[in-house]
């Protein structure tokens, strides 16, 4: 007989669940097998240890149970006295929690919209136009301070509201001008191409800004040079 099977029988025998016909077989095996005898002995010592070390409750357990029970009974009596409070409690609490959650969420969104710096993108009325797919530019020639290239007066929230008011399917230029601090998460473009186009346009705008700054510096240098000249300027066209 295999020891594995006998060890299962030992466990059953400890609980008086071993079939009567197996009892003599078990005893015979235990008489012959020292390993199974030790196994049985160790299981029984383990059982004795478990029983000997049963944890003791604290002496004030009954007192604490009494207090808790009184408390629970008082609550139950109150619920029975004012059943409408109990029935209203569930949905009122739910409503209060939903209200708090909604308020916190809205506040967070507003704070995000107001505090996030407005992402500057060219608008249709910003003084110059960027034709999609074209590199040619038509810039206003001014020697004084240039007109604001970007509309910094508009806040993201206004822009977002304006964007929300627009019907779906407007052109790319309009959408670009409406992009706000909400970033691409607010973008309702139907596909990724629009976003890529916007990023391309933003890079173009940045390049144009740099070129414009260089030109303005050159113009200022030329004006300064012109003012420093003492000789009268000859108008060649008139002289000819």
């Amino acid at each position: 007989m295999k020891c594995n099977k006998v060890q299962g029988w030992i466990s059953l025998e400890m609980d008086d669940r071993l079939a009567p016909q197996h009892v003599p077989l078990l005893q015979q095996h235990l008489a012959e097998c020292a390993a199974c005898r030790m196994y049985s002995e160790e299981l029984r010592i383990g059982q004795r240890m478990l029983h000997a070390t049963e944890p003791k409750l604290s002496a004030n357990f009954d007192w604490k149970l009494q207090l808790r029970l009184n408390h629970v009974m008082r609550e139950a009596a109150r619920d029975a006295s004012y059943p409408w409070q109990r029935s209203a409690f569930g949905w009122r609490r739910w409503l209060a929690r939903a209200g708090v959650s909604a308020t916190v969420g809205l506040t967070a969104m507003l704070a995000f919209a107001l505090l996030t710096p407005y992402r500057l993108t060219p608008g249709p009325d910003s003084g110059f136009q960027v034709a999609a797919g074209e590199q040619s530019l038509r810039l206003p020639m001014q020697t004084t301070s240039p007109p604001p290239l970007y509309d910094t007066s508009r806040r993201p929230l206004n822009a977002a509201l304006e964007l929300a008011r627009q019907p779906a399917g407007l052109g790319l230029q309009r959408r670009v001008s409406g992009t706000s601090g909400f970033g691409t998460a607010y973008w309702s473009g139907a596909n990724e191409r629009d976003l890529l186009r916007i990023r391309q346009l933003e890079q173009d705008v940045e390049a144009l800004r740099r070129r414009l700054a260089v030109r303005e510096r050159q113009v200022r240098q030329l004006e300064a040079k012109l003012d420093s000249l003492t000789a009268p300027v000859v108008d060649r066209t008139q002289a000819e």
Binding site: Q7, L12, T53, A59
Partner: protein
Amino acid sequence: MNPSPNDYEAGQRNGSGSLRDMRDEDLIVLVQRGQRRAFDEVVARYKGRLYSFVLRMVKDPSLAEELTQETLIRVYLHADKYREIARFSTWVFTIATNLVRNRMRQQSRMPRLLVLNPAPEDDEIPLDPPDLQADPSRDLEGEELGRLINEATAKIPERYRVPFLLREVDQLSYEEIQQVTGLKLGTVRSRINRARTRFRQNIKPLLRNETLLAELERIEARAQAEED
């Protein structure tokens, strides 16, 4: 035998002697009728067994005490739901097992937080009164062995530990364990066997420790003397 309506009054007159002689199933009928003294007898019968089971499941004495109280409170509040289709002990340990499992599940989901200044849950409940009956020297005697046994028990996987403790600590029969856990009878049998094997492996180092074995003998002798 169902208790007569006057059993409670009879119990009061006779110093609750009749309550002590009643079966659990009859006691709970009295509890269903609102007899608080019958519930006290239920508490006296089950608190130690419940605490022993719960402590070896959750390992934390204060949590074990809380869950034991919670079990007994639920027994009182939902006594009217008990039907004598199963033994009362099965019903009580089903409640305790469910509570322990829920708590262990909650603890496994919750991140471990360090509470620096925990607020009292209910300011109506005063602080624990000092435990005047506690005997520190007596606690120390079996403390080391108890700690080692608890550690060895805790190492048994939970699915084996529940039927094992219900059998070894609470002396429930295989059929009762089957009802409490919802397992098949064969599964109960095999899980108890596996748990015993694991427990034996875990206590193997203790079995070679002569001091601990001598301590075991002392504890058993003292328990026997107390019974006599």
